[in-house]
Symmetry: C2
Subunit: 343 residues, 2 copies
């Protein structure tokens, strides 16, 4: 473990060190709920923003300049790596891939690439943002192998993940080959982000909650574990996030990572009871940011109360900020978390 | 408890009595995946089918005639009670309510009605179906107060249940009034179904998985408990079903009911470990019915293995059958469950 004496509270919390205040940041904190972001989106598409390091850096900094958030997260999209793999991706407005993966041969055609070439713009944005951020740590991120594979196979949004599950269950060898390709790129990508300046990384397994425990253990866990274990030597703490994981939280946590992300469907203290002494990030229901101040206050208070007596808590939402969220409420949560957890 | 010596295995399993074979039925077993149903739907809308007792009876019997399922469930829709309450409901193709509930006054305007008048057609269909079914028990059902209230407030499908949660959190008195109205009708409706001939009833809290544990305990649990407790004296066993409940399964189970329904996201044995000696219904992933026979066999086998040594198991899906499901696979599951659990 690095010398953490002078480390920011977010990094200290990842390592379950004592903190002066509970750190707080928000998934999708750089996004549509901010006026500054909407202004930029009038001129640029999501992909243009993500692929132009100066713009991605600017968006990354927007929430940090607006409120005293404890960590920045680089502006990017979890689907960026699938383009250099050979997927034709557009946003219409949700992601659409017009050459989805359906066969073993499709998997073979997916390219393994040098992330410095294929995703150099993200690395450059990280270096730029890190330079601007000063004491605020910067988080890099990637989609977890399952979530990326599900997009590659479904070709876009899915209600039931029928095609993904059919592929996984009926073509287990092709699935394994696909997951190995994706996990290899994911490891390279996250390591390169750390080298470029990211002080922590998060692995997003956003759709893993569609699976049964058995499916998770057999087809997903080994690949997530591979990524999380490869990142151990990077020196940067790793957050492993998923939603809908309450049914198999023990398995999910067993994949590794310094911090386990939990959604809002489970009480924080119950989650801790189930996974033991690990750092946890979560778990405010994102819809609560639309609530009145008194209701929102109550919800934040309840989470802080349930975190008491535990080391290694990072306050966050249970999933990303929703587009219409009032900025004032986000700002208030930052203030309350800091004030109420102050030593 | 009634004398169960001669009771069908489904009823015995509800009461955690020993069974000769594990009983099996499927949520939405009467529906679009069956050719016979699609034929009828060419001529009639869902509401026409549900409101014509002879047709609803016919649809109820279709899967029972096609395979040796252990229980029939009356063909109806959980939203039927909201029409006589005053909601203007249509299917386009998902449910749309063009006068949603948004204020305390809207709640006041919702009518309490005599279920024998407002929903007499369902009761009549139950009596007709019961007469045709012979030894196969008939299940009645209703939407749980939360799920019905969420439809009344959202006015249709919702991704994040923002309006429902805002109503619940910001207008707790109006919410309480709404839930009391809905739960009163639900109790009357389920009791009337038992009187009309239903030998068991199921309370569907299909969307409750959008809530946090805290929201569930404060705003939903007392009302579900009221319904489940009122049904105790009906003589018919009660199944309490929800999806996405793994985060607060202990709370969900504490609402009552003879049988707890669980989705596929949790291992059956883990669910049992968490709720103790209760009957459980579940928990096959509905997408597995699209799988090859060997994969499907493996999944059914795994569930049966995890049910071993427990009394009170009813094999079912973790949610409703999906429209394109191959009938042959449904039939195979019935056969395997019976063959592999035979004493």
């Amino acid at each position: 473990m690095p010398n953490l004496h002078a480390a920011p509270r977010f990094i200290r919390a990842c390592h379950r060190q004592t903190v002066d205040r509970i750190p707080v940041w928000f998934m999708r904190q750089a996004g549509r709920y901010m006026k500054e972001y909407r202004e930029l989106r009038k001129k640029y598409s999501i992909l243009q923003l993500a692929k132009t390091p100066e713009l991605a850096c600017q968006v990354t900094l927007q929430p940090i300049r607006a409120m005293p958030i404890d960590a920045a997260i680089i502006f990017a999209d979890i689907l960026l790596p699938i383009e250099p793999m050979g997927a034709r991706l557009c946003f219409a407005p949700g992601p659409v891939i017009d050459n989805p993966v359906r066969t073993s041969r499709d998997v073979d055609r997916l390219k393994e690439f040098d992330v410095k070439d294929g995703l150099g713009f993200v690395l450059k944005a990280i270096t730029l943002a890190r330079r601007e951020l000063g004491a605020t740590p910067l988080i890099g991120f990637a989609g977890a192998p399952f979530t990326l594979a599900s997009y590659l196979i479904e070709g876009g949004h899915s209600d039931h993940f029928l095609k993904t599950k059919a592929f996984m269950l009926e073509q287990p060898k092709a699935w394994d080959k696909l997951m190995r390709k994706v996990r290899g790129i994911t490891v390279d990508y996250l390591k390169a982000q750390v080298e470029a300046g990211a002080q922590a990384v998060q692995l997003f397994d956003s759709w893993v909650g569609c699976l049964s425990s058995d499916q998770y253990r057999r087809f997903v866990l080994p690949h997530s574990r591979f990524v999380l274990s490869a990142l151990k030597r990077s020196g940067a703490p790793v957050i492993h996030f998923g939603t809908g994981t309450s049914g198999f939280l023990e398995d999910f946590a067993s994949a590794g990572g310094d911090v386990v992300g939990v959604d809002w469907r489970i009480d924080l203290d119950r989650a801790w009871g189930r996974i033991g002494p690990r750092a946890i990030q979560g778990n405010l229901d994102p819809t609560l940011l639309f609530a009145s101040r008194s209701v929102l206050k109550g919800a934040v208070h309840d989470i802080l109360r349930r975190s008491r007596g535990r080391r290694g808590f990072i306050f966050n939402l249970g999933h990303g900020i929703l587009p219409q969220t009032p900025v004032e409420n986000v700002r208030s949560v930052v203030g309350w978390v800091h004030a109420w957890s102050s030593n």
